[in-house]
């Protein structure tokens, strides 16, 4: 009955809405009630607009009654990470510097979800400050708890997007992924999380972290649901000059037409030191499943894997230091009351407004771009990036997709990792995908003995999301992991 509506898939709910067994108002009310029941414990929401969501739901029901429903997302409550602009709603990036900022316009993904797909936007979801982090502990407001174990992190940086969906406080959510920020929390919370090919989804209206790496993508309960959301948000946007101008496939329809079998590559560098044994065993079992499906499994090598982390932390911090220069306390955002002149406003507003991790990354990024160090760090990192990308493209001459763990470890305890470098090392399996601009999806593939979700990562060829999701779906259909929900 309605008490469990909040754990159903878009696919199921869209059928009920279409059959008029359910109204968007009922569904939205159920999600709001669930949010209020659980968010005190998971702290996934920075804010929400109940009246606004109910009005969108009522409008959806009116459209449907008039025979003007806009498709499967019409009336479905979808949560947005608090780095994606929604006109008239707070946009904080979980930072004090934007604590009182209200967005004057919609991101392109927001507009597409609202106006083209008819989705009900539900909530501004907590994250690491400016999407910098792997545990959501860098939120300036409050950390997010993992719904599977409230003493553990949900992953990051899109931790609120993952926790809200896992807890039933939304039917799908959007996150952003610069080095794994969708895939890693999806793995740690037992969800499907997709980072699309760079350029497939517009970044217009996304608070910029590292512009050459950032992509917006969906969190969903199933691969089919992820395909539905991707279809709604993907496609060329003249407002983003890095947006790719090519037709967008009908992903949900495409999935059904691709039965496999596929050639799947196993990069040997992704199964070495530091990989938790339960995670390793679950991913090995997934490999065995694909073999059973008739897929050809090949060991491949990505020889520059060991350089991904360093390359990433040079490029990402360099771009961040440049992007975050706009926060100067002048036109918007926090302005220090202690400042005496213009330069002082910049330095003190930024010092008061940014948290420790953001400051660390601005310092590192400024350093690697500074005179005398640019060639040694930034330019060299961009060249190594070329080699990393070539590794993937070479591997894809022989295989359709790569299969790896998403995160080397399952969800860890809040406060467990205090050293920045130890935290950075958690991104080791996800950052190469961003450097190479490829699509990657995390899919649930088991649980630890302690009951924590485990995720595997499938990496696809550029703009081959349909193939990638078809491969993911072939595994999902034969397993029940995605049907389990946390007890909250």
């Amino acid at each position: 009955m309605s008490s469990e509506l909040h754990f159903q898939t878009i696919t199921t709910l869209a059928a009920k809405l279409a059959a008029k067994e359910l109204s968007s108002l009922e569904l939205t009310q159920a999600v709001i009630a669930r949010t209020k029941a659980v968010d005190g414990r998971i702290q996934a929401f920075n804010s929400f607009d109940e009246a606004g969501a109910l009005a969108q739901a009522a409008a959806s029901d009116s459209r449907r009654a008039a025979g003007e429903a806009r498709g499967p997302l019409d009336g479905i409550p979808i949560g947005l990470k608090d780095v994606i602009a929604v006109a008239g709603q707070p946009l904080t990036a979980s930072s004090r510097i934007l604590a009182n900022f209200v967005s004057p316009y919609d991101a392109t993904v927001t507009r597409r979800l609202k106006e083209q797909a008819g989705a009900v936007l539900w909530g501004r979801l907590n994250c690491d400050e400016f999407a910098m982090g792997s545990s959501n502990e860098n939120s300036a407001f409050r950390p997010v708890a993992n719904p599977w174990d409230l003493a553990r992190v949900p992953g990051g940086s899109s931790g609120g997007s993952a926790a809200a969906l896992a807890a039933g406080a939304a039917i799908a959510t959007l996150g952003s992924d610069t080095g794994g920020s969708i895939r890693q929390p999806a793995a740690l919370c037992g969800l499907v999380g997709l980072k699309p090919t760079y350029g497939l989804v517009s970044r217009y209206g996304l608070v910029a972290f590292a512009s050459s790496l950032d992509q917006i993508g969906p969190f969903a309960r199933t691969v089919d649901d992820a395909a539905l959301v991707l279809r709604a948000i993907a496609g060329h946007d003249p407002l983003d000059s890095t947006s790719f101008n090519a037709p967008v496939p009908d992903y949900p329809a495409e999935l059904a037409t691709r039965p496999g079998p596929w050639k799947i590559g196993i990069p040997k560098e992704y199964f070495g030191e530091g990989l938790n044994s339960e995670v390793g065993a679950a991913v090995e079992a997934a490999v065995a499943h694909y073999r059973k499906l008739g897929c050809e499994i090949r060991e491949v090598s990505l020889p520059h894997t060991q350089y991904c982390l360093d390359t990433y932390y040079i490029i990402a911090t360099a771009e961040a230091s440049s992007n975050l220069a706009r926060f100067d306390g002048i036109r918007y955002g926090h302005r220090s009351k202690a400042a005496t002149d213009a330069i002082d406003i910049y330095a003190k507003s930024r010092a008061e407004g940014f948290g420790a991790e953001v400051k660390r990354r601005i310092i590192l990024g400024t350093y690697v771009l500074s005179s005398g160090y640019y060639d040694a760090y930034y330019l060299r990192a961009q060249k190594v990036r070329t080699l990393i990308r070539q590794d993937f493209l070479t591997a894809f001459k022989d295989v359709d997709a790569l299969l790896t763990p998403t995160s080397p470890v399952p969800a860890f305890k809040l406060g467990e990792k205090s050293d920045p470098l130890a935290m950075y090392l958690l991104d080791i399996y996800t950052i190469g995908v961003n450097l190479a601009g490829l699509p990657g999806v995390s899919v649930p593939c088991g649980f630890t003995q302690g009951g924590l979700p485990i995720g595997m990562q499938l990496i696809g060829q550029p703009f081959q999301e349909a193939n990638l999701l078809a491969i993911a779906r072939a595994y999902e259909r034969a397993h029940e992991w995605h049907r389990k929900h946390p007890n909250l």
Binding site: N100, F101, V102, P104, Y105, T197, Y198, G199, S212, P238, S241, S243, F244, N245, H304, Y307, L309, D310, Y313, I314, A325, D328, I330, Y332, G333, H334, R335, A339, D341, A342, I343, I345, R350, A351, F354, A356, K359, I363, L364, T366, Y367, S370, Y377, L379, R380, Q382, K383, V384, R385, T386, R389, D419, P420, L421, Y424, L435, A436, G437, L438, P462
Partner: protein, 96 residues
């Protein structure tokens, strides 16, 4: 990059317009020293003849029609300004 990295935190913080406390400077210097030490291994990679990658899928010559389109109203544009009057943003005097 064959030299041990030296991060002059005072200089870099000034470039970044960040008023760090002495405690932050000491802490970040130490933590970023570890990160820079890790990054040192990039100097082992042979990058001779390799072109840099700025974007995985570079798109060149993106043009937009030079036509006016609706923008933000003055109220909307100034709504988030920390200080203002008479439809302007207030800032400290910068020219004597």
């Amino acid at each position: 990059m064959n030299q041990a990295p030296e991060l002059n935190i005072d200089y870099v913080a000034q470039l970044a317009r960040l008023a760090l406390t002495p405690e932050e400077k000491a802490k970040f210097s130490h933590q970023l020293g570890d990160v820079l030490h890790h990054i040192e291994q990039l100097s082992k990679v042979d990058v001779s003849g390799i072109e840099p990658t700025a974007h995985a899928f570079p798109v060149y010559n993106v043009w937009a029609e030079d036509v006016a389109r609706p923008g933000l109203s003055v109220d909307q544009a100034l709504r988030n300004a920390p200080a203002g009057r008479d439809n302007m943003i207030s800032v400290p005097k910068v020219v004597e």
